[in-house]
């Protein structure tokens, strides 16, 4: 984290409600950072997909596992980390949802949507040993100067703590 960046970390339960909670939290940060409606929609959708991925595939819907969400706001971009406590996965192993044989699949589009909607997207091994999704979106040129208000209203998550 650079000196100019603001960071918000939240630990979420492995439950469906965490998906909406994470989306709402990140949307507040994105709106405060100056993102427009379309970008907020894309950021919100990407956060949902990241947390759904952690909830379902990473943590296998096990309530004893947690989802770790970090929202970092720098002078250039909004960076979102979603880490699970599963076994991790490699992006190369994820089937292409646009392949003809996968079009009628009822799952497997989350990674594709995050990649499509964010500027940068990657999956690394997290400190928990699970998967850590890292995705970012550049701030709009008309973004307001960064201040405490940008991350000060988004701490509704369970067991939140904020680092400046």
């Amino acid at each position: 984290m650079t000196p100019q960046s603001k960071q918000l970390e939240t630990t979420l339960e492995t439950q469906v409600e965490s998906v909406n909670l994470a989306e709402e939290m990140c949307l507040r940060v994105a709106e405060a950072a100056g993102f427009g409606e379309e970008d907020c929609y894309r950021i919100g959708m990407s956060v949902r997909e990241g947390v759904i991925n952690a909830f379902h595939y990473g943590n296998q819907e096990r309530p004893d596992r947690k989802i770790h969400l970090t929202v970092e706001l720098t002078s250039e971009k909004l960076i979102i980390h979603v880490m699970d406590e599963g076994k991790g996965f490699k992006l190369g192993d994820v089937p292409d949802p646009l392949a003809e044989e996968n079009l009628l699949s009822t799952s497997g589009r989350g990674i594709f949507l995050m990649r499509s909607f964010m500027d940068d997207f990657d999956v690394v091994e997290g400190r928990t040993g699970g998967a850590e999704i890292i995705m970012s979106k550049r701030l709009p040129s008309a973004a307001k100067p960064l201040g405490d208000s940008a991350v000060g209203h988004g701490n509704e998550g369970k067991d939140p703590h904020q680092e400046a």
């Binding site: 469906v16 959708m45 949902r48 759904i52 949802p97 079009l103 009822t106 589009r109 949507l113």
Partner: protein, 114 residues
């Protein structure tokens, strides 16, 4: 916004008017339950009116695909009507326009069922 759905008959076709979000949780579950219910009543020609659905996530997409294949497996047809821009764009980037038949006019959609 919570999901809501009502259905009505238009000749042999059942039109389902949905509103709200089709996403992980209630939205996806409602669509699944509704389609099962319609099929149990032998209503196999289904037109989903999504005019008031402004949000679908990957779970919702999966549920739409599941409904489509389930209805087709019963010898029926499921088509979509009145997509909002966000839903339209989502189906476009996921290439599901090549799967679903999509209409902007209800009368033309009704006529298209065999």
């Amino acid at each position: 916004m919570s999901i809501q759905a009502t259905h009505r008959d238009s000749g042999k076709v059942t039109v389902v008017d949905m509103s709200g979000r089709i996403s992980l949780g209630d939205g996806s579950a409602l669509l699944r339950t509704l389609v099962r219910q319609l099929l149990a009543e032998d209503r196999t020609l289904i037109l989903l009116n999504l005019a008031d659905v402004n949000y679908i996530d990957s779970s919702g997409i999966g549920e739409l695909v599941s409904a489509f294949t389930t209805v087709k497996g019963r010898g029926g047809e499921m088509k979509l009507l009145n997509l909002t821009k966000k839903v339209h764009d989502l189906l476009q980037i996921t290439k599901l326009f090549t799967v679903f038949e999509v209409f902007n006019e209800e009368s033309k959609a009704i006529q298209s069922f065999k």
